[in-house]
Symmetry: C2
Subunit: 431 residues, 2 copies
Amino acid sequence: MDLAKRAYDHGFRLDPIVRSLLDTDFYKLLMLQMIWREHRDTPVVFQVINRTRSVRLADEIDIGALREQLDHARTLGFTNKELVWLAGNSFYGVKQIFSPDFIGWLTDYRLPDYDLSVQDGQYVLTFAGAWAEVTLWEIPALAILNELRCRVGLRRLGRFEMDVLYSRAKTRLWSKVERLRALPDLALSDFGTRRRHGFLWQRWCIQALKEGLGQAFIGTSNVLHAMENDLEAIGTNGHELPMVLAALAPDDAALARTPYAVLDEWRRHYGGNLLVVLPDAFGTEAFLDQAPDWVADWTGFRPDSAPPIAAGERLIDWWRAHGRDPKEKLLIFSDGMDIDGIEAAHAHFHGRARLSFGWGTNLTNDFRDCSPAFAPELEPISLVCKVAEAGGRPAVKLSDNPEKAVGDPAEIERYRRVFGVRGLTAQPVVV
Amino acid sequence: MDLAKRAYDHGFRLDPIVRSLLDTDFYKLLMLQMIWREHRDTPVVFQVINRTRSVRLADEIDIGALREQLDHARTLGFTNKELVWLAGNSFYGVKQIFSPDFIGWLTDYRLPDYDLSVQDGQYVLTFAGAWAEVTLWEIPALAILNELRCRVGLRRLGRFEMDVLYSRAKTRLWSKVERLRALPDLALSDFGTRRRHGFLWQRWCIQALKEGLGQAFIGTSNVLHAMENDLEAIGTNGHELPMVLAALAPDDAALARTPYAVLDEWRRHYGGNLLVVLPDAFGTEAFLDQAPDWVADWTGFRPDSAPPIAAGERLIDWWRAHGRDPKEKLLIFSDGMDIDGIEAAHAHFHGRARLSFGWGTNLTNDFRDCSPAFAPELEPISLVCKVAEAGGRPAVKLSDNPEKAVGDPAEIERYRRVFGVRGLTAQPVVV
């Protein structure tokens, strides 16, 4: 026995959940560079929202343990190795996608302070400050809350029960891998950082996909896992861009233009396969209705809240109406996907458009019915971290699924007036 | 990293399969004590027989590696701790079941030499010498061959595939445990040493049963695992006793008396729950036909080659015919049992007799369809190590299943003439 190792291990003050600022989703870094250039001082507030209200997170997770993890994340800086890699690696086939001045700014970056309180059994966790400072909190905040909750579940299990738990979860994931192998021309990536069971489990899942799917596994949204496992970092842009810019719009006319203004800004910074439209922030129908023709030149769409097959059909129709060949266009499905939905969408669209799947919670946190003992904390919940305010005004997301709408009710009404409500269909939000 | 550990680990000359002489089945020690008292110098030959002829063991397993493992086993002696435990522990509720003079003899015991050659792709592995010297070879020889073969299979797998393999095997075993939990008054023990996938896997299986079944898991046949996991050591007697004594019988009349002479000898050495009859060495029907009434006083029967339900019914009838209450008698099923057969026998006999299950190959070596890559060596085979000769004469086992008969064909004919062939039913031999 290595006495020194044992003594050291038993002296751990903390088992940190987030150990690197690269342990985040790639789209955050792409968005951050644009935010830093264009809107770095815009005041925003991000807020964690638990959409699974039945789970009283503040009763399950100890507030002291949560503060310790958040405080630990605040001690992290990008390491020299990480910055050299960000500067030198090619992303989406582009060299030096991150400029030297941005890398320079990252060098001294630390996560800013947070505000934490409890209300009705839920944590009220907010991050207020300059947009460029606070945006990176999204992923570590979610990963910390999810993993702390899973640890509560794990503490209910004996050593042996844990072994059975992980054996079952591995067996389940591998059975999914075997089904995925049967899909020709599959392109799939890990999008599971924010809702993962834990960092090490996400790594196992990624290695399983790399081993089992080969070239069909195109990469991971997690920048750290991408670097450490020699994989492509995957991701483009998220809802925070249109949400913040919409909140800043001076009037209804400017609000209506926001979805396209965001894309216009994005294409000034990025090109090629990074030109992926996230159309649903204020409703996909409204977006497509008013979209300028140049939007049809973009590489693809990532429908994120409508049922995948209906959404894909609508987008294919739209491309055709704009004289584009859908076969040259990309559809990225990433909303609550699991093996059945991936198979169904693949069967439906294969050969009709380029397809890609972003597999999240059901990849990195599918422990349902895996525990040999009662441990409800191992079931995933629907936790998000969204912009709540920008420039002192409430931020809003409508989404194609009214169940996923966030924001001040009066503002939601205003947005619905401006963008219309066509195409909105309520769906249960699972994960 | 612990540099010393890594350097040491990489310098292993051999990863020994058998690391203790207690890594054997308990019945071998009980039989050995009697053999040592009554027949220690009787010359016998034990021989390994691969009943799964389609598997060419000598093509799969390197002969050098086999010699190294056998030679390593020959270096082992009982340790002081092991002898103190054998002398001081209670077995089947009996203190000092092993006498001081026998323990004294064990102190200097080593496994004797072996003879190894190859014929038609099979190993011819024999152990010749005084019965008390060679009998202990049975279990280590089988465990070594089985584990070496599994290692051949494992070498086909990558690190990740091994992880999936064991996850699937653990998941499968645990699903069996969950079914076993539903059986009231279950009594089940591990009998899987000889056909195990490996020592460490057997330990995992034992710990799974201990954790999952609680009191329904009554122990293990493996003496080392029993000692290390604070479990009961389980087992009584095996076919070698009647086989050797039958070979020594001077004429047909003495041969016909042998099955009862063996029991008579056994009851002079052991009592109580160790009085378990193994009735099938020369056919159960013949045995019951001629059995003296005192055999019905014994605790129970272990039918070992007839279909369990038919065998149990026959024994219950026999007890009743002899005026004994089957509810006070014990039926031990241990021939190729798995979860379906255990459930069926339990459903059939529960409440009608005391029941106990000895779970072997399908407990400790069920990796069928678990490997994510081609690795046929991970499927179990039917390997046995039987007495081939005693006192210079061929030894014979008829069994209730002619497929399991062993011995010189002319002698088998003679035994069939002496004992008759009623009740013999051919069944495929799976494990």
